[in-house]
Protein backbone atom coordinates (compact mmCIF):
# COMPACT_ATOMS: atom_id res chain seq x y z
CA UNK A 1 0.00 0.00 0.00
CA UNK A 2 1.19 3.49 -0.77
CA UNK A 3 1.30 5.74 2.27
CA UNK A 4 2.33 8.83 0.29
CA UNK A 5 1.32 9.63 -3.23
CA UNK A 6 2.36 12.76 -5.05
CA UNK A 7 0.61 13.60 -8.28
CA UNK A 8 2.16 16.10 -10.64
CA UNK A 9 3.07 18.72 -8.05
CA UNK A 10 4.47 22.09 -9.04
CA UNK A 11 5.50 24.86 -6.68
CA UNK A 12 6.54 28.32 -7.84
CA UNK A 13 7.94 31.15 -5.73
CA UNK A 14 7.50 34.23 -7.91
CA UNK A 15 9.18 33.29 -11.17
CA UNK A 16 11.30 30.53 -9.65
CA UNK A 17 9.98 27.01 -10.07
CA UNK A 18 11.26 25.13 -7.04
CA UNK A 19 9.36 21.91 -7.82
CA UNK A 20 8.39 21.17 -11.40
CA UNK A 21 5.63 18.62 -11.95
CA UNK A 22 6.87 15.72 -9.82
CA UNK A 23 5.01 12.43 -9.35
CA UNK A 24 6.00 9.59 -7.04
CA UNK A 25 4.70 7.17 -4.42
CA UNK A 26 6.08 5.76 -1.18
CA UNK A 27 5.31 2.23 0.09
CA UNK A 28 4.16 1.78 3.67
CA UNK A 29 6.83 0.78 6.23
CA UNK A 30 9.71 1.37 3.87
CA UNK A 31 12.63 3.78 3.87
CA UNK A 32 12.29 6.26 1.06
CA UNK A 33 15.22 8.44 0.08
CA UNK A 34 14.71 11.75 -1.65
CA UNK A 35 18.08 12.76 -3.02
CA UNK A 36 19.46 15.76 -4.75
CA UNK A 37 21.82 18.68 -4.36
CA UNK A 38 21.01 21.76 -2.28
CA UNK A 39 18.28 23.82 -3.88
CA UNK A 40 16.94 20.90 -5.94
CA UNK A 41 13.47 21.15 -4.35
CA UNK A 42 13.73 18.61 -1.52
CA UNK A 43 12.76 20.89 1.36
CA UNK A 44 9.96 22.46 -0.68
CA UNK A 45 8.51 19.00 -1.38
CA UNK A 46 8.73 18.05 2.30
CA UNK A 47 7.05 21.33 3.28
CA UNK A 48 4.16 20.54 0.94
CA UNK A 49 3.77 17.02 2.34
CA UNK A 50 3.91 18.44 5.89
CA UNK A 51 1.16 20.98 5.07
CA UNK A 52 3.46 23.96 5.64
CA UNK A 53 3.16 25.01 1.99
CA UNK A 54 0.41 24.65 -0.58
CA UNK A 55 1.46 23.50 -4.04
CA UNK A 56 0.88 25.84 -6.97
CA UNK A 57 -0.71 22.89 -8.78
CA UNK A 58 -1.03 19.13 -8.35
CA UNK A 59 -2.11 16.95 -5.42
CA UNK A 60 -0.37 15.18 -2.58
CA UNK A 61 -1.91 12.53 -0.33
CA UNK A 62 -0.53 11.16 2.90
CA UNK A 63 -2.17 8.27 4.73
CA UNK A 64 -5.19 8.85 2.48
CA UNK A 65 -5.55 12.54 3.37
CA UNK A 66 -5.13 15.50 1.05
CA UNK A 67 -2.11 17.53 2.19
CA UNK A 68 -3.56 20.90 1.26
CA UNK A 69 -7.16 20.53 2.44
CA UNK A 70 -6.94 18.08 5.37
CA UNK A 71 -3.93 19.49 7.14
CA UNK A 72 -5.02 18.42 10.63
CA UNK A 73 -5.44 14.76 9.66
CA UNK A 74 -2.11 14.84 7.81
CA UNK A 75 -0.32 16.52 10.74
CA UNK A 76 -1.55 13.83 13.13
CA UNK A 77 -0.06 11.17 10.85
CA UNK A 78 3.43 12.63 10.58
CA UNK A 79 6.51 13.31 12.66
CA UNK A 80 9.23 15.61 11.41
CA UNK A 81 12.90 16.16 12.09
CA UNK A 82 13.88 19.37 10.40
CA UNK A 83 17.23 20.36 8.94
CA UNK A 84 17.74 22.89 11.74
CA UNK A 85 16.97 21.87 15.29
CA UNK A 86 13.46 22.75 16.39
CA UNK A 87 13.95 22.00 20.08
CA UNK A 88 13.46 24.72 22.67
CA UNK A 89 16.99 25.29 23.96
CA UNK A 90 15.80 26.87 27.18
CA UNK A 91 13.78 23.84 28.20
CA UNK A 92 14.99 20.43 29.33
CA UNK A 93 14.79 17.26 27.24
CA UNK A 94 11.84 16.02 29.27
CA UNK A 95 10.02 19.34 28.99
CA UNK A 96 10.45 19.39 25.21
CA UNK A 97 9.00 15.89 24.98
CA UNK A 98 6.10 16.65 27.32
CA UNK A 99 5.31 19.80 25.38
CA UNK A 100 5.13 17.72 22.21
CA UNK A 101 2.95 15.03 23.80
CA UNK A 102 0.47 17.63 25.02
CA UNK A 103 0.44 19.42 21.68
CA UNK A 104 -0.49 16.14 19.98
CA UNK A 105 -3.09 15.30 22.65
CA UNK A 106 -1.44 12.16 23.95
CA UNK A 107 -3.82 11.08 26.74
CA UNK A 108 -2.67 12.02 30.23
CA UNK A 109 -2.56 8.38 31.35
CA UNK A 110 -0.05 7.54 28.64
CA UNK A 111 1.91 10.78 28.45
CA UNK A 112 4.45 10.15 31.16
CA UNK A 113 5.19 6.63 30.03
CA UNK A 114 5.66 7.66 26.38
CA UNK A 115 7.98 10.51 27.38
CA UNK A 116 10.07 8.08 29.43
CA UNK A 117 10.12 5.61 26.54
CA UNK A 118 11.27 8.34 24.18
CA UNK A 119 14.08 9.35 26.55
CA UNK A 120 15.18 5.75 26.78
CA UNK A 121 14.95 5.35 23.02
CA UNK A 122 17.20 8.38 22.52
CA UNK A 123 19.55 7.06 25.21
CA UNK A 124 19.14 10.26 27.22
CA UNK A 125 17.52 9.14 30.48
CA UNK A 126 20.41 10.45 32.57
CA UNK A 127 20.26 13.82 30.78
CA UNK A 128 16.46 14.13 30.88
CA UNK A 129 16.45 17.21 33.10
CA UNK A 130 19.33 19.07 31.47
CA UNK A 131 18.66 22.08 29.28
CA UNK A 132 18.94 21.43 25.53
CA UNK A 133 21.57 24.20 25.38
CA UNK A 134 24.03 21.78 26.93
CA UNK A 135 23.41 18.96 24.41
CA UNK A 136 25.71 17.96 21.54
CA UNK A 137 24.49 17.89 17.92
CA UNK A 138 24.10 14.11 17.93
CA UNK A 139 22.13 14.09 21.18
CA UNK A 140 19.78 16.78 19.86
CA UNK A 141 19.09 14.84 16.67
CA UNK A 142 18.39 11.62 18.56
CA UNK A 143 16.04 13.50 20.85
CA UNK A 144 14.29 15.08 17.89
CA UNK A 145 13.76 11.70 16.24
CA UNK A 146 12.42 10.32 19.52
CA UNK A 147 10.15 13.34 19.90
CA UNK A 148 8.85 12.88 16.36
CA UNK A 149 7.72 9.37 17.32
CA UNK A 150 5.88 10.21 20.56
CA UNK A 151 2.48 10.60 18.91
CA UNK A 152 2.96 7.34 16.93
CA UNK A 153 2.93 8.82 13.42
CA UNK A 154 2.63 6.76 10.25
CA UNK A 155 5.39 8.66 8.46
CA UNK A 156 8.57 10.17 9.86
CA UNK A 157 10.20 12.88 7.78
CA UNK A 158 13.93 13.36 8.19
CA UNK A 159 15.26 16.39 6.36
CA UNK A 160 19.06 16.07 6.10
CA UNK A 161 19.19 14.34 9.49
CA UNK A 162 22.97 14.06 9.61
CA UNK A 163 23.85 17.56 8.43
CA UNK A 164 26.54 19.06 10.62
CA UNK A 165 27.17 15.89 12.63
CA UNK A 166 30.59 14.31 13.08
CA UNK A 167 31.16 10.91 11.38
CA UNK A 168 30.73 8.96 14.61
CA UNK A 169 27.38 10.55 15.47
CA UNK A 170 26.30 10.07 11.85
CA UNK A 171 26.97 6.35 11.97
CA UNK A 172 25.16 6.07 15.31
CA UNK A 173 22.15 7.97 14.03
CA UNK A 174 21.85 5.75 10.95
CA UNK A 175 21.91 2.62 13.02
CA UNK A 176 19.09 4.14 15.06
CA UNK A 177 17.07 5.26 12.00
CA UNK A 178 17.28 2.03 10.00
CA UNK A 179 15.72 0.07 12.86
CA UNK A 180 12.64 2.26 13.01
CA UNK A 181 10.44 0.72 10.28
CA UNK A 182 10.64 -2.74 11.84
CA UNK A 183 10.30 -1.61 15.45
CA UNK A 184 7.59 0.99 15.01
CA UNK A 185 5.76 0.12 11.79
CA UNK A 186 6.58 3.46 10.35
CA UNK A 187 7.57 4.81 6.97
CA UNK A 188 10.71 6.92 6.77
CA UNK A 189 10.88 9.71 4.23
CA UNK A 190 14.36 11.18 4.23
CA UNK A 191 16.31 13.66 2.22
CA UNK A 192 20.05 13.84 2.05
CA UNK A 193 22.76 15.01 -0.26
CA UNK A 194 25.21 12.48 1.14
CA UNK A 195 24.78 9.78 -1.47
CA UNK A 196 26.50 7.08 0.54
CA UNK A 197 23.86 7.48 3.27
CA UNK A 198 21.10 6.68 0.80
CA UNK A 199 22.31 3.07 0.49
CA UNK A 200 20.02 2.11 3.39
CA UNK A 201 16.90 3.13 1.46
CA UNK A 202 14.42 0.67 -0.04
CA UNK A 203 13.45 3.15 -2.72
CA UNK A 204 15.12 6.29 -3.97
CA UNK A 205 14.02 9.21 -6.08
CA UNK A 206 16.65 11.60 -7.39
CA UNK A 207 15.57 15.18 -7.88
CA UNK A 208 17.50 17.88 -9.70
CA UNK A 209 16.31 21.38 -10.56
CA UNK A 210 12.80 20.57 -9.38
CA UNK A 211 12.37 17.42 -11.52
CA UNK A 212 12.66 13.74 -10.65
CA UNK A 213 15.35 12.41 -12.96
CA UNK A 214 15.46 8.79 -11.76
CA UNK A 215 13.87 6.47 -9.22
CA UNK A 216 14.14 2.87 -8.09
CA UNK A 217 16.04 0.74 -5.60
CA UNK A 218 19.69 1.66 -4.93
CA UNK A 219 20.73 -1.49 -6.83
CA UNK A 220 18.62 -0.77 -9.90
CA UNK A 221 19.87 2.81 -9.98
CA UNK A 222 23.45 1.66 -9.85
CA UNK A 223 22.83 -0.61 -12.82
CA UNK A 224 22.20 2.57 -14.80
CA UNK A 225 25.90 3.35 -14.71
CA UNK A 226 26.95 -0.11 -15.91
CA UNK A 227 28.49 -2.66 -13.62
CA UNK A 228 31.48 -3.07 -11.38
CA UNK A 229 34.95 -2.11 -12.51
CA UNK A 230 37.84 -4.55 -11.98
CA UNK A 231 41.37 -3.14 -11.91
CA UNK A 232 44.32 -5.47 -12.50
CA UNK A 233 48.02 -4.94 -12.31
CA UNK A 234 49.91 -7.70 -14.13
CA UNK A 235 53.48 -8.52 -15.16
CA UNK A 236 52.45 -8.05 -18.80
CA UNK A 237 49.40 -5.82 -19.22
CA UNK A 238 49.17 -6.16 -23.01
CA UNK A 239 49.19 -9.94 -22.89
CA UNK A 240 46.66 -10.04 -20.03
CA UNK A 241 44.36 -7.70 -21.95
CA UNK A 242 44.53 -9.98 -24.99
CA UNK A 243 43.73 -13.07 -22.94
CA UNK A 244 40.73 -11.40 -21.27
CA UNK A 245 39.45 -10.35 -24.69
CA UNK A 246 39.83 -13.85 -26.08
CA UNK A 247 38.49 -15.86 -23.14
CA UNK A 248 35.76 -13.60 -21.72
CA UNK A 249 35.08 -11.14 -24.51
CA UNK A 250 35.88 -8.34 -22.09
CA UNK A 251 37.23 -5.07 -23.46
CA UNK A 252 40.16 -3.99 -21.29
CA UNK A 253 41.69 -0.53 -21.26
CA UNK A 254 44.90 0.60 -19.65
CA UNK A 255 45.39 3.52 -17.32
CA UNK A 256 48.23 4.39 -14.91
CA UNK A 257 49.86 0.96 -15.26
CA UNK A 258 46.61 -0.87 -14.55
CA UNK A 259 44.14 -2.47 -16.92
CA UNK A 260 40.48 -2.20 -16.08
CA UNK A 261 37.36 -3.93 -17.31
CA UNK A 262 33.68 -3.20 -16.79
CA UNK A 263 31.38 -6.08 -15.97
CA UNK A 264 27.89 -6.39 -14.45
CA UNK A 265 28.92 -8.99 -11.84
CA UNK A 266 32.50 -8.25 -10.81
CA UNK A 267 32.48 -10.42 -7.68
CA UNK A 268 31.77 -13.64 -9.59
CA UNK A 269 34.06 -12.62 -12.45
CA UNK A 270 37.25 -12.24 -10.41
CA UNK A 271 37.69 -15.98 -9.55
CA UNK A 272 37.49 -16.99 -13.23
CA UNK A 273 39.99 -14.32 -14.23
CA UNK A 274 42.42 -15.43 -11.53
CA UNK A 275 42.02 -19.06 -12.63
CA UNK A 276 43.07 -18.17 -16.18
CA UNK A 277 45.79 -15.55 -15.76
CA UNK A 278 46.46 -15.77 -12.02
CA UNK A 279 50.22 -16.31 -12.38
CA UNK A 280 50.72 -12.91 -14.02
CA UNK A 281 48.44 -10.90 -11.70
CA UNK A 282 50.26 -8.69 -9.18
CA UNK A 283 47.21 -7.02 -7.67
CA UNK A 284 43.48 -6.89 -8.17
CA UNK A 285 40.83 -4.53 -6.88
CA UNK A 286 37.22 -3.94 -7.67
CA UNK A 287 35.10 -0.83 -7.51
CA UNK A 288 31.35 -0.91 -7.17
CA UNK A 289 29.34 1.96 -8.64
CA UNK A 290 28.10 4.35 -5.99
CA UNK A 291 24.98 6.47 -6.02
CA UNK A 292 27.34 9.34 -6.58
CA UNK A 293 28.30 7.79 -9.93
CA UNK A 294 24.59 7.51 -10.70
CA UNK A 295 24.11 11.18 -10.03
CA UNK A 296 27.21 12.03 -12.03
CA UNK A 297 25.96 10.02 -14.97
CA UNK A 298 22.42 11.44 -14.86
CA UNK A 299 23.30 15.10 -14.44
CA UNK A 300 26.87 15.24 -15.67
CA UNK A 301 27.79 16.78 -12.32
CA UNK A 302 28.96 15.47 -8.99
CA UNK A 303 26.39 16.11 -6.31
CA UNK A 304 28.55 17.85 -3.78
CA UNK A 305 30.71 20.22 -5.77
CA UNK A 306 30.05 23.19 -7.99
CA UNK A 307 26.28 22.69 -8.23
CA UNK A 308 26.17 23.14 -4.51
CA UNK A 309 26.86 26.83 -4.97
CA UNK A 310 24.35 27.20 -7.77
CA UNK A 311 21.78 25.38 -5.64
CA UNK A 312 22.46 27.65 -2.71
CA UNK A 313 21.65 30.66 -4.88
CA UNK A 314 18.24 29.19 -5.68
CA UNK A 315 17.77 28.37 -2.02
CA UNK A 316 18.57 31.94 -0.98
CA UNK A 317 16.18 33.39 -3.57
CA UNK A 318 13.38 31.11 -2.39
CA UNK A 319 14.08 32.00 1.23
CA UNK A 320 13.99 35.72 0.62
CA UNK A 321 10.84 35.35 -1.45
CA UNK A 322 9.18 33.49 1.39
CA UNK A 323 10.40 36.08 3.86
CA UNK A 324 8.56 38.73 1.88
CA UNK A 325 5.42 36.77 1.11
CA UNK A 326 4.64 34.42 3.86
CA UNK A 327 4.20 35.87 7.24
CA UNK A 328 3.87 33.05 9.59
Amino acid sequence: MQIISVENITKRFGNITAVDGITFGVEENSIFGFLGPNGAGKTTTISILCTLLDPTSGKAFLNGHDCSTESDAVRKSIGIVFQDSSLDKDLTARENLTFHARLYRVARAERKQRVEAALEFAGLQDRADDLIKKFSGGMKRRLEVARGLIHRPKVLFLDEPTLGLDPQSRAGLWEFITELPKKHEITIFMTTHYMEEAEVCDQIAIIDKGKIIASGTPQSLKKLVGGDVIYLRTSDNTKAADTLQKLFGLEAAEKDGEIFISTPRGDSCIPSIIREIGDTVLSVRMQRPTLNDVFLKLTGKAIREEIQTAGNDVKETVRSYRRRHDRG
Binding site: F13, C50, L52, K76, E95, L103, R327
Partner: protein, 255 residues
Protein backbone atom coordinates in the same frame (compact mmCIF):
# COMPACT_ATOMS: atom_id res chain seq x y z
CA UNK B 1 -11.31 27.23 16.36
CA UNK B 2 -9.34 27.48 19.60
CA UNK B 3 -7.84 24.33 21.11
CA UNK B 4 -7.50 24.56 24.88
CA UNK B 5 -4.57 22.12 25.01
CA UNK B 6 -2.58 24.29 22.59
CA UNK B 7 -3.24 27.51 24.50
CA UNK B 8 -2.38 25.77 27.75
CA UNK B 9 0.97 24.34 26.62
CA UNK B 10 2.05 27.57 24.98
CA UNK B 11 1.28 29.57 28.13
CA UNK B 12 2.91 26.94 30.36
CA UNK B 13 6.08 27.05 28.26
CA UNK B 14 6.32 30.86 28.41
CA UNK B 15 5.75 30.92 32.17
CA UNK B 16 8.35 28.23 32.75
CA UNK B 17 10.93 30.10 30.68
CA UNK B 18 10.08 33.41 32.31
CA UNK B 19 10.58 32.08 35.82
CA UNK B 20 13.85 30.49 34.73
CA UNK B 21 15.28 33.70 33.31
CA UNK B 22 16.08 35.63 36.46
CA UNK B 23 17.73 38.56 34.67
CA UNK B 24 14.64 39.19 32.57
CA UNK B 25 12.49 39.03 35.69
CA UNK B 26 14.67 41.56 37.51
CA UNK B 27 15.02 43.96 34.58
CA UNK B 28 11.33 44.06 33.72
CA UNK B 29 10.51 44.92 37.33
CA UNK B 30 13.44 47.32 37.71
CA UNK B 31 12.72 49.46 34.64
CA UNK B 32 9.36 50.85 35.79
CA UNK B 33 10.70 51.41 39.32
CA UNK B 34 13.63 53.41 37.95
CA UNK B 35 11.24 55.57 35.94
CA UNK B 36 8.85 56.00 38.81
CA UNK B 37 11.34 56.91 41.52
CA UNK B 38 14.27 58.44 39.62
CA UNK B 39 12.50 60.23 36.76
CA UNK B 40 9.23 60.80 38.62
CA UNK B 41 11.01 61.73 41.85
CA UNK B 42 13.28 64.21 40.08
CA UNK B 43 10.56 65.78 37.95
CA UNK B 44 8.17 66.21 40.86
CA UNK B 45 10.59 68.79 42.31
CA UNK B 46 10.05 70.93 39.19
CA UNK B 47 6.38 70.24 38.64
CA UNK B 48 4.13 71.40 41.49
CA UNK B 49 1.24 69.25 42.63
CA UNK B 50 -2.06 70.30 41.15
CA UNK B 51 -5.45 69.68 42.68
CA UNK B 52 -3.87 67.48 45.31
CA UNK B 53 -2.07 65.18 42.83
CA UNK B 54 1.74 65.14 42.89
CA UNK B 55 3.67 64.43 39.69
CA UNK B 56 4.78 61.06 41.03
CA UNK B 57 1.19 60.11 41.69
CA UNK B 58 0.22 61.39 38.24
CA UNK B 59 2.73 59.18 36.42
CA UNK B 60 1.91 56.04 38.46
CA UNK B 61 -0.83 54.85 36.02
CA UNK B 62 1.55 55.64 33.16
CA UNK B 63 4.28 53.54 34.77
CA UNK B 64 1.84 50.63 35.07
CA UNK B 65 1.04 51.15 31.38
CA UNK B 66 4.77 51.14 30.61
CA UNK B 67 5.28 47.88 32.47
CA UNK B 68 2.47 46.32 30.46
CA UNK B 69 3.66 47.80 27.15
CA UNK B 70 7.25 46.59 27.43
CA UNK B 71 6.46 43.22 28.89
CA UNK B 72 3.68 42.46 26.38
CA UNK B 73 5.66 43.53 23.33
CA UNK B 74 8.72 41.64 24.56
CA UNK B 75 6.67 38.53 25.16
CA UNK B 76 5.20 38.58 21.63
CA UNK B 77 8.46 39.47 19.96
CA UNK B 78 9.73 36.13 21.26
CA UNK B 79 7.91 34.75 18.20
CA UNK B 80 10.77 36.19 16.14
CA UNK B 81 13.24 34.29 18.34
CA UNK B 82 11.18 31.13 17.96
CA UNK B 83 11.29 31.52 14.19
CA UNK B 84 15.01 32.26 14.18
CA UNK B 85 15.85 29.28 16.38
CA UNK B 86 13.47 26.88 14.67
CA UNK B 87 11.11 26.10 17.53
CA UNK B 88 8.22 27.78 15.70
CA UNK B 89 8.26 24.91 13.17
CA UNK B 90 7.52 22.40 15.91
CA UNK B 91 4.40 24.42 16.75
CA UNK B 92 3.41 25.07 13.14
CA UNK B 93 3.36 21.40 12.11
CA UNK B 94 1.38 20.31 15.17
CA UNK B 95 -2.30 19.44 14.61
CA UNK B 96 -3.56 22.72 16.09
CA UNK B 97 -5.08 25.77 14.43
CA UNK B 98 -3.01 28.88 13.76
CA UNK B 99 -5.51 30.91 15.74
CA UNK B 100 -4.84 28.77 18.84
CA UNK B 101 -1.15 29.60 18.53
CA UNK B 102 -1.93 33.31 18.40
CA UNK B 103 -4.38 33.14 21.31
CA UNK B 104 -1.82 31.10 23.26
CA UNK B 105 0.90 33.68 22.68
CA UNK B 106 -1.42 36.59 23.51
CA UNK B 107 -2.56 34.84 26.68
CA UNK B 108 1.07 34.25 27.72
CA UNK B 109 1.75 37.96 27.25
CA UNK B 110 -1.37 38.76 29.24
CA UNK B 111 -0.46 36.55 32.18
CA UNK B 112 3.17 37.71 32.38
CA UNK B 113 2.38 41.41 31.98
CA UNK B 114 -0.48 41.38 34.47
CA UNK B 115 1.74 39.64 37.04
CA UNK B 116 4.37 42.34 36.62
CA UNK B 117 1.78 45.12 36.76
CA UNK B 118 0.57 43.66 40.08
CA UNK B 119 4.12 43.80 41.47
CA UNK B 120 4.42 47.50 40.50
CA UNK B 121 0.89 48.21 41.74
CA UNK B 122 1.95 47.04 45.20
CA UNK B 123 4.08 50.23 45.49
CA UNK B 124 1.06 52.56 45.50
CA UNK B 125 0.97 53.14 49.27
CA UNK B 126 4.53 54.56 49.06
CA UNK B 127 3.21 57.33 46.79
CA UNK B 128 0.50 58.35 49.23
CA UNK B 129 -2.27 57.14 46.93
CA UNK B 130 -5.47 55.89 48.50
CA UNK B 131 -6.94 53.09 46.38
CA UNK B 132 -9.82 50.91 47.56
CA UNK B 133 -9.94 47.12 47.12
CA UNK B 134 -12.57 47.29 44.38
CA UNK B 135 -10.37 49.76 42.49
CA UNK B 136 -7.32 47.50 42.91
CA UNK B 137 -9.33 44.66 41.39
CA UNK B 138 -10.47 47.01 38.62
CA UNK B 139 -6.87 48.03 37.85
CA UNK B 140 -5.85 44.36 37.61
CA UNK B 141 -8.73 43.67 35.23
CA UNK B 142 -7.90 46.69 33.05
CA UNK B 143 -4.23 45.59 33.07
CA UNK B 144 -5.22 42.14 31.85
CA UNK B 145 -7.33 43.47 28.96
CA UNK B 146 -4.67 46.00 27.99
CA UNK B 147 -1.93 43.32 28.16
CA UNK B 148 -3.91 41.01 25.91
CA UNK B 149 -4.46 43.84 23.39
CA UNK B 150 -0.80 44.90 23.32
CA UNK B 151 0.50 41.32 23.21
CA UNK B 152 -1.75 40.73 20.19
CA UNK B 153 -0.41 43.93 18.61
CA UNK B 154 3.09 42.53 19.24
CA UNK B 155 2.14 39.31 17.40
CA UNK B 156 0.97 41.34 14.41
CA UNK B 157 4.30 43.22 14.44
CA UNK B 158 6.30 40.01 14.85
CA UNK B 159 4.58 38.50 11.82
CA UNK B 160 6.15 41.20 9.66
CA UNK B 161 9.67 40.48 10.79
CA UNK B 162 11.71 37.33 10.96
CA UNK B 163 15.10 38.32 12.25
CA UNK B 164 16.06 39.78 15.56
CA UNK B 165 17.68 42.83 13.97
CA UNK B 166 14.12 44.05 13.57
CA UNK B 167 13.72 44.12 17.33
CA UNK B 168 15.42 47.52 17.67
CA UNK B 169 13.29 48.90 14.83
CA UNK B 170 10.16 47.88 16.70
CA UNK B 171 11.49 49.27 19.98
CA UNK B 172 12.55 52.65 18.58
CA UNK B 173 9.84 53.34 16.06
CA UNK B 174 6.81 51.76 17.69
CA UNK B 175 7.24 51.04 21.38
CA UNK B 176 8.97 54.25 22.52
CA UNK B 177 6.60 56.57 20.58
CA UNK B 178 3.65 54.57 21.91
CA UNK B 179 4.91 55.17 25.42
CA UNK B 180 5.56 58.91 25.09
CA UNK B 181 2.32 59.50 23.18
CA UNK B 182 0.08 57.85 25.75
CA UNK B 183 -0.40 60.48 28.42
CA UNK B 184 1.91 58.47 30.66
CA UNK B 185 4.44 61.24 31.37
CA UNK B 186 2.44 64.40 30.58
CA UNK B 187 -1.29 65.11 30.37
CA UNK B 188 -2.91 64.65 26.97
CA UNK B 189 -4.73 67.96 27.50
CA UNK B 190 -1.48 69.90 27.37
CA UNK B 191 -0.21 68.37 24.12
CA UNK B 192 -0.09 70.24 20.80
CA UNK B 193 -2.80 69.15 18.32
CA UNK B 194 -0.53 67.00 16.15
CA UNK B 195 0.74 64.96 19.08
CA UNK B 196 -2.73 64.79 20.56
CA UNK B 197 -3.91 63.13 17.34
CA UNK B 198 -1.37 60.34 17.73
CA UNK B 199 -2.23 60.01 21.39
CA UNK B 200 -5.87 59.53 20.53
CA UNK B 201 -5.20 56.65 18.13
CA UNK B 202 -2.94 54.90 20.65
CA UNK B 203 -4.76 52.13 22.57
CA UNK B 204 -2.26 52.46 25.45
CA UNK B 205 -3.64 55.98 26.12
CA UNK B 206 -7.05 54.54 26.96
CA UNK B 207 -5.64 51.78 29.14
CA UNK B 208 -3.64 54.32 31.15
CA UNK B 209 -6.64 56.68 31.31
CA UNK B 210 -8.78 53.85 32.69
CA UNK B 211 -6.18 53.24 35.41
CA UNK B 212 -6.16 56.99 36.16
CA UNK B 213 -9.93 56.76 36.72
CA UNK B 214 -9.37 53.99 39.25
CA UNK B 215 -6.33 55.37 41.08
CA UNK B 216 -6.39 59.20 41.08
CA UNK B 217 -8.90 61.38 42.96
CA UNK B 218 -11.84 62.33 40.75
CA UNK B 219 -12.21 65.66 38.98
CA UNK B 220 -8.54 66.48 39.39
CA UNK B 221 -8.00 69.29 36.82
CA UNK B 222 -5.12 69.15 34.41
CA UNK B 223 -3.53 66.00 35.88
CA UNK B 224 -6.84 64.13 35.88
CA UNK B 225 -8.45 61.82 33.35
CA UNK B 226 -9.00 62.73 29.68
CA UNK B 227 -11.79 60.40 28.50
CA UNK B 228 -14.89 58.79 29.98
CA UNK B 229 -14.14 55.48 31.75
CA UNK B 230 -16.56 53.52 29.56
CA UNK B 231 -14.91 54.83 26.40
CA UNK B 232 -11.53 53.70 27.79
CA UNK B 233 -12.86 50.20 28.42
CA UNK B 234 -14.56 50.02 25.02
CA UNK B 235 -11.37 51.03 23.20
CA UNK B 236 -9.09 48.54 24.94
CA UNK B 237 -11.59 45.71 24.55
CA UNK B 238 -12.06 46.51 20.87
CA UNK B 239 -8.28 46.71 20.33
CA UNK B 240 -7.86 43.31 21.96
CA UNK B 241 -10.43 41.75 19.62
CA UNK B 242 -9.11 43.51 16.51
CA UNK B 243 -5.42 42.80 17.11
CA UNK B 244 -5.91 39.14 18.01
CA UNK B 245 -8.01 38.66 14.86
CA UNK B 246 -5.46 40.37 12.64
CA UNK B 247 -2.72 38.38 14.37
CA UNK B 248 -4.59 35.16 13.64
CA UNK B 249 -4.98 36.12 9.98
CA UNK B 250 -1.32 37.03 9.63
CA UNK B 251 -0.40 33.55 10.91
CA UNK B 252 -2.77 31.64 8.68
CA UNK B 253 -1.08 32.50 5.41
CA UNK B 254 0.87 29.76 3.74
CA UNK B 255 3.51 30.44 1.10
Amino acid sequence: MIEANAVYVIVARELKKFVRERTRLVSTIARPLVWLFLVGGGMSRMIPASDGISYMQFIFPGILGMTILFSSIFSSISIIWDKEFGFMKEILVAPISRFSIVVGKATSGMVLSTLQAVVILAFYPLLGLKIGLAEVAGIILVSAILSFAISSLGIVLASFYDSYESFSVIMNFIVMPMFFLSGAMYPVKLMPDVLRFFTKINPLTYGIDAIKHLSLPQGAGVMGTDFPFLLDLAVILASAVIFVTVGGKSFERKG
